[in-house]
């Protein structure tokens, strides 16, 4: 049976129809990991023995990889930091528990920037992940291992996490679908905390329907995360094809100003496709994203300083001497902006501008159903190239920070390749809890374009 590149859903169907067993599919992916992981370094831990799922529920047949900052009971969880090199959690994160309870299985844990601090996966204490399209380039980050694993089809889907761009950016650079739901839609319990007011689990896959399917399993109120909402989880799968016939889509002019020419042209091409669907696309004004960089930097550092204070090497893991440069830098800056005398000038000021960003989006969504924007200003950078950029590459998240500090959902979609055969992409940002609409639009785009044959193209390199 031909498995290569198939969606988790279609594999699940074959398993249910008993054309193939779950174990056989699992071993198929193990073989691929064995073959390609030494090149890509997408996985930090692989579960080499197949264990039958707890039950045959809704998610039975789904094989997923999980970013290594989600606690997995009995499976080492490092957040790609030497501080947690020996940490085997005694409990499962809520997303892991929900996946397992529904019948899904975990094939391994994927690489990330240490503590998810970064946009390239190069700050991992266990070596960088390579971009499957060009292994001299970075996959983006911080969920770089998850994006590379999905792109090279080492697992059909992956659960990642995003604080500001950490799902969307690697998905864009690896040419796959990346989905970041509204803050509070999926529980953060058991996700190693980075910036708690921003952290958000997300989903990476080649197929939009897999994202919809997984979101149904993972989303919903969790008592162990007070920021999850009571709002019922919608039927994303059943309504996937019911895309709206009329839509108004805004393209923030300020976002196009910071990207390379080819990236801008690609957004124009996508806009033309949307117009063919009968949707109205027009340029509009949104706050300059350079302010969101500052808001994000201050808020994120402050929350990092608080969250990483718990690592003392007493109850689990190793001591603070094992923190890498990036984590140290962020902890120090966080303590600076929170300290007496600077709190008002930096931290409180940032939170006030955050309010203005939230209101700015609210206003935009009074007129537009969705916003169309680039995910990242350039093509994937070369390994080591990040250091040349301001903020050591963090500026690559400039187009994701505003929507993250506003807690908004977004989907990053692949849209062809550039002249160097590197993936192009775009994102759609929606108002709070517009997950269903984002998935419908993503699905429509996928059906219409088949992502320009990108999957087939890439998987020729990874037969």
């Amino acid at each position: 049976m031909d498995i290569l590149g198939r969606s988790a859903l279609s594999l699940r169907k074959s398993i249910k129809e008993k054309r193939v067993s779950l174990k056989e599919i699992y071993e198929y992916f193990l073989e691929r990991i064995d073959k390609y992981n030494s090149l890509l370094n997408a996985f930090l831990t692989v579960r080499n023995d197949f264990t039958k799922p707890e039950r045959e529920g809704y998610g039975y047949g789904v094989i997923a990889s999980i970013k290594d900052n989600f606690c997995t009971k009995g499976i080492r969880t490092t957040a790609s930091s030497k501080v947690l090199e020996n940490f085997v959690p005694p409990y499962d994160a809520t997303v892991v528990e929900r996946l397992k309870k529904s019948g899904g299985v975990i094939i391994g844990k994927t690489n990330l920037d240490a503590w998810a601090h970064g946009s390239s996966t190069e700050t991992s204490d266990f070596g960088p992940t390579k971009n499957p399209w060009d292994t001299t380039r970075v996959p983006g980050g911080s969920s770089g291992g998850s994006a590379a694993a999905v792109a090279a089809y080492l697992s059909p889907v992956s659960i990642g996490s995003e604080t500001a761009g950490s799902v969307r950016l690697p998905a864009a650079w690896c040419g796959v679908v990346g989905f970041k739901p509204t803050y509070g839609r999926i529980s953060r319990y058991g996700l190693i905390a980075m910036a708690s007011s921003l952290d958000c689990p997300g989903i990476l896959a080649w197929h939009v329907e897999d994202v919809a399917f997984l979101l149904e399993i993972l989303a919903g109120k969790d008592k162990f995360d007070a920021t999850t909402v009571e709002k019922p989880v919608e039927k994303y799968m059943a309504e996937l094809e019911n895309y709206p016939k009329r839509m108004r889509i805004g393209v923030p002019k300020s976002y196009l100003k910071v990207v390379k020419k080819e990236v801008e042209k690609n957004i124009e091409r996508v806009a033309r496709i949307f117009e063919k669907f009968g949707w109205k696309v027009e340029e509009m004004d949104l706050m300059d994203p350079k302010y969101a960089i500052s808001v994000y930097t201050i808020v994120q550092r402050a929350e990092v300083a608080s969250n990483l204070a718990r690592y003392d090497g007493i109850r689990f893991g190793f001591g603070r001497d094992r923190f890498g440069f990036e984590a140290k830098k962020r902890i120090i800056l966080g303590n600076f902006v929170l300290s007496h005398g600077y709190y008002g000038r930096y931290y409180e000021k940032a939170q006030k501008v955050r309010r203005l960003i939230i209101l700015d989006f609210k206003k935009a969504f009074e007129k537009y159903d969705l916003l169309l924007a680039p995910v990242v200003p350039s093509e994937p950078l070369k390994l080591g190239e990040f250091e040349k950029y301001p903020f050591f590459g963090e500026a690559m998240d400039v187009l994701n920070e505003a929507s993250s500090v506003a807690g908004l959902p977004a989907i990053s979609l692949p849209s062809g390749v550039d002249k160097n055969n590197l993936p192009l992409s775009f994102q759609l940002i929606g108002p709070s809890f517009s997950e269903k609409l984002l998935l419908q639009v993503g699905y429509k785009f996928q059906k219409e374009t088949e992502f320009f044959g990108m999957r087939e193209k890439l998987l020729k390199k990874y037969p």
Partner: protein, 98 residues
């Protein structure tokens, strides 16, 4: 805003971190100063009368648990102690504090 050696030392102490390597200290000072200069662009925005937004939504509510409710997050003593760097009988062993 420039980070001096003195400020760096205070911050390191607050952060429970030790950085002695000269090159690393210089890199920290440089990058922290650069970042702080960048974020000053927020001064360009008038925030008079604006309420800070500590979360993206104002609808967060505390989560309470009923008395006597099963605590699914609890760990048995042995489970919790299993990962300890050092233990003494039923306790985590720490370095002398005083």
């Amino acid at each position: 805003m420039k980070i001096t050696d003195k400020t760096l030392d205070t911050l390191l102490e607050l952060s429970g971190l030790v950085v002695k390597d000269k090159k690393e200290r210089e890199a920290l000072k440089k990058q922290l100063s650069e970042t702080l200069s960048y974020v000053e662009n927020l001064e360009e925005i008038d925030t008079e009368g604006v309420e800070p937004a500590y979360f993206s939504s104002d609808e967060n509510k505390n989560q309470f648990f009923e008395d006597g409710e099963e605590n699914k997050r609890g760990l048995l003593r042995e489970e919790a102690l299993k990962l300890a760097a050092e233990r003494y009988k039923k306790f985590f062993k720490v370095k002398r504090i005083l």
